[in-house]
C-alpha cells in the first residue's frame, strides 16, 4: 500500500507535466472550437424553447415554437416537402452517375487525369459563378437550352427556374452536375481496392459483366455506398445556398427548403427562437438518417 503511494507520488509530477504539455497543444484549437462551434450548438438547443425577436429579451416559451411550426406554419411543411423532394431525387441520381463514371474510369485509359480533372472541377468551382452561368443557360426566354429545344421542334419548352414545376428539377440538375465528380473520386478509390483476381476468377467461371458488377463490384463498394449516401443526404438536407442564389426559394415557395426557412425566420423575420426550433427539426432528421445508416451499414456489410 505504502509502496503504491510512493509510486503515485513519484509519477504524479511527471504525469501532471505530461498533461500540461498535452493541453498546451490542444487549447488553442479547443478554445476556438468551444466558443465558435460547440457553445452555439448547445445554445441552439436552448434557444429552440425560447421566443426571441430583435427588440425584446429572451423568453422561455416551452414547446410553443414546435407547436406553432407543426400546426400553424404552412411554410414549414412546404419547406419540409421540398427538402425531401430535393434529397430523394438528388441523392440517387448523383450516386448513379458517380458510380457509373468511376467504373468507366477504373481502367488504364489515355487521358485519365484529364477526364478526372474535368469531371471534378465543377465541385470546387464557386457556386455563385456556376449558378449564374446555369441560370443564363436555362433562361426561359433567351437561353441556349430553350433555343435548342425550340430549334428541334419542341414548341413549348419548360420555363425552368421561372416555373413552379421545373424550378426544383433545374436546381437538382445543377446540384448533380456540380457534385458528381467528387463522389466519383470517392468511388474510384474504393474500386481500386477491389482485387483484379476476383474479376479474373469470375470471368473464368463464365460470369458476364453484369453478373460481375452484381456479385463483385457492388458488394465490394457497399461500405463506400453507405458513406456516400450519408454524406450526400446530409449535404442535401442542409443545402439552401443554391436556392438562395438561383431562385430565392421561388417561384412562390417552390424551391424553399428547410435550411432556407431557418435563414428566413432568423435573418429576415428576426424570429431567432423560432428559427432555432426549425434548426432542431433539421438536426433531428439528420441524426435519424445517420443512425439508420449506421445500423444499415453494419447489417449489409457484415458478410464481407
Amino acid at each position: 500500500m505504502s509502496k503504491d503511494n510512493s509510486q503515485i507520488k513519484k509519477t504524479k509530477p511527471l504525469a501532471r507535466k505530461k498533461t500540461l504539455v498535452a493541453y498546451s497543444f490542444i487549447l488553442p484549437n479547443l478554445i476556438g472550437f468551444l466558443i465558435f462551434t460547440f457553445i452555439p450548438i448547445v445554445f441552439s438547443l436552448l434557444l429552440s424553447f425560447c421566443e426571441w425577436d430583435s427588440g425584446n429579451p429572451i423568453k422561455f416559451v416551452g414547446l410553443k415554437n414546435f407547436i406553432v411550426m407543426f400546426t400553424k406554419d404552412s411554410s414549414f411543411w412546404i419547406a419540409l416537402k421540398n427538402t425531401l423532394y430535393y434529397t430523394i431525387v438528388t441523392v440517387p441520381v448523383t450516386m448513379a452517375f458517380a458510380l457509373f463514371l468511376a467504373i468507366l474510369m477504373n481502367k488504364p485509359l489515355k487521358g485519365r487525369v484529364f477526364f478526372r480533372s474535368v469531371l471534378f472541377f465543377p465541385y470546387i468551382a464557386s457556386l455563385v459563378a456556376v449558378a449564374v452561368v446555369w441560370m443564363a443557360l436555362f433562361n426561359p426566354d433567351r437561353g441556349p437550352v430553350n433555343s435548342l429545344l425550340l430549334a428541334v421542334g419542341i414548341t413549348n419548352p419548360p420555363r425552368w427556374a421561372a416555373s413552379t414545376t421545373w424550378a426544383m428539377p433545374t436546381i437538382i440538375g445543377l446540384t448533380v452536375w456540380k457534385g458528381m465528380g467528387y463522389y466519383m473520386i470517392v468511388y474510384l478509390a474504393a474500386l481500386q481496392g477491389v482485387s483484379a483476381e476476383l474479376y479474373e476468377a469470375a470471368s473464368l467461371d463464365g460470369a458476364n459483366k453484369w453478373k460481375q458488377f452484381l456479385h463483385i463490384t457492388w458488394p465490394s463498394v457497399t461500405p463506400t455506398t453507405f458513406f456516400i449516401l450519408m454524406m450526400l443526404m446530409v449535404s442535401t438536407f442542409k443545402s439552401y445556398d443554391t436556392m438562395y442564389i438561383t431562385t430565392q426559394g421561388g417561384p412562390g415557395e417552390a424551391t424553399k427548403v428547410l435550411a432556407y426557412h431557418i435563414y428566413n425566420s432568423a435573418f429576415v423575420s428576426s424570429k431567432f427562437g423560432y428559427a432555432s426550433a426549425v434548426a432542431m427539426v433539421l438536426f433531428g432528421i439528420i441524426m435519424v438518417v445517420t443512425l439508420i445508416q449506421f445500423k444499415g451499414e453494419k447489417k449489409f456489410t457484415s458478410y464481407l
Binding site: N29, I35, F43, L119, A125, A259
Partner: protein, 281 residues
C-alpha cells in the same frame, strides 16, 4: 484465330464505347464553362444569339476591363484573399497542434475531448448558424473579417484530418526523437509537420476552396461594402446589372480563375485528399 479476332474486336468496341461515354460526360461538364467564357467576350446583343457562335469574331476584351469599375471586384478579391490566407494558416497551426496531442500524447480526458470533436463533424452549420450569429453580435464580431476568420479556423474536420494522418506515423520515430532530447514541441515542428505534407496539402486546399467560395457566411456577416468578398461582389454584379450578361460572365470567369489555377497545379492533392479521407466539411 477467329476467336482472337473476335476478342480483340469486342474489346476495341468496348474501348470506343467507354471513350464515347467519357467524352460525352466531359463535354457536359465543360459546356457551361465554355459558354461562360464565350459569352464574356461578346457584345451584349450577341450573347443569346442562336445557333451559338462559340468563338466570337470580334472578341470584346473590354468586358474584362469594365467590370472592375462597375462593382468593386478588386476590393472583393483582396478581402477574400485576406480571409482565405488567415483562416488557412490559423486552421493549419491550431489543428495540427491539437491533432498531435490527440494522436501521440496520453492524458486525462483525451478520448472524451476527441469524441466531442468527432460528434460535431456531422452537425451542419445551418443547425447552429442562428445562435452563432447572436453570439458573434455580443462579441462585436459581426461585419468584421476577424469574426469570419475565427468562425472558420477551428473546425473539427481539420483536427480530425490531421489526427488521422498523425496516427499513421510510427511511435518509434517519436521515441527516438525524445531520446535525442527533442521536446514535444520540437517533435511537432521537426518531425510531424515535415512528415505530414500530404495531409497539410489536403487541409490547405480544403480550407482555401471553402473560404474562397463561401457565400452564405459573408452574406450573413458582412454588411459594409468595403469588407465584402469576391463572391458577394459577383452576386452584386448579377443583381445590379442583371441584363448585362456578357459582363456578368466576365466577372464569373475572373472569380473562378484563382481556384482553377490552384487546381491545375495541385490537382493530384485535391484528388488524393478526396480519395484518401473521402471526407470534407
Amino acid at each position: 484465330m477467329s476467336e482472337i479476332n473476335y476478342k480483340t474486336t469486342a474489346s476495341a468496341v468496348k474501348t470506343v464505347l467507354i471513350y464515347t461515354a467519357l467524352i460525352l460526360m466531359a463535354f457536359i461538364m465543360l459546356i457551361p464553362f465554355a459558354w461562360m467564357i464565350s459569352a464574356s467576350l461578346k457584345l451584349e446583343k450577341d450573347v443569346f444569339s442562336f445557333p451559338i457562335v462559340w468563338v466570337p469574331s470580334d472578341p470584346q476584351w473590354n468586358n474584362y476591363l469594365e467590370i472592375w469599375n462597375k462593382v468593386p471586384l478588386l476590393t472583393g478579391f483582396i478581402n477574400t484573399a485576406k480571409l482565405t490566407m488567415f483562416t488557412t494558416i490559423l486552421q493549419l497551426l491550431t489543428s495540427s497542434f491539437a491533432a498531435y496531442a490527440f494522436a501521440k500524447l496520453e492524458f486525462k480526458g483525451r478520448d472524451t475531448l476527441f469524441m466531442l470533436y468527432v460528434m460535431t463533424i456531422s452537425i451542419p452549420w445551418q443547425v447552429y448558424m442562428v445562435p452563432q450569429y447572436k453570439l458573434m453580435t455580443w462579441f462585436g464580431l459581426t461585419d468584421s473579417h476577424l469574426g469570419l476568420i475565427l468562425m472558420h479556423a477551428f473546425t473539427a474536420m481539420g483536427v480530425f484530418l490531421m489526427r488521422q494522418f498523425f496516427v499513421s506515423i510510427p511511435n518509434e520515430l517519436l521515441e527516438a526523437a525524445r531520446i535525442d532530447g527533442l521536446s514535444e514541441y520540437g517533435i511537432w515542428q521537426k518531425l510531424m509537420l515535415p512528415l505530414s505534407k500530404p495531409a497539410i496539402a489536403t487541409l490547405c486546399i480544403t480550407s482555401f476552396t471553402f473560404e474562397w467560395n463561401d457565400f452564405m457566411g459573408p452574406l450573413i456577416y458582412l454588411s459594409s461594402q468595403k469588407k465584402k468578398t469576391i463572391q458577394l461582389m459577383l452576386r452584386m454584379f448579377n443583381t445590379q446589372y442583371s441584363s448585362n450578361y456578357a459582363q456578368i460572365m466576365a466577372a464569373a470567369t475572373v472569380a473562378l480563375i484563382p481556384v482553377l489555377i490552384l487546381f491545375v497545379f495541385l490537382q493530384r492533392y485535391f484528388v488524393e485528399g478526396v480519395a484518401s479521407s473521402g471526407i470534407k466539411g
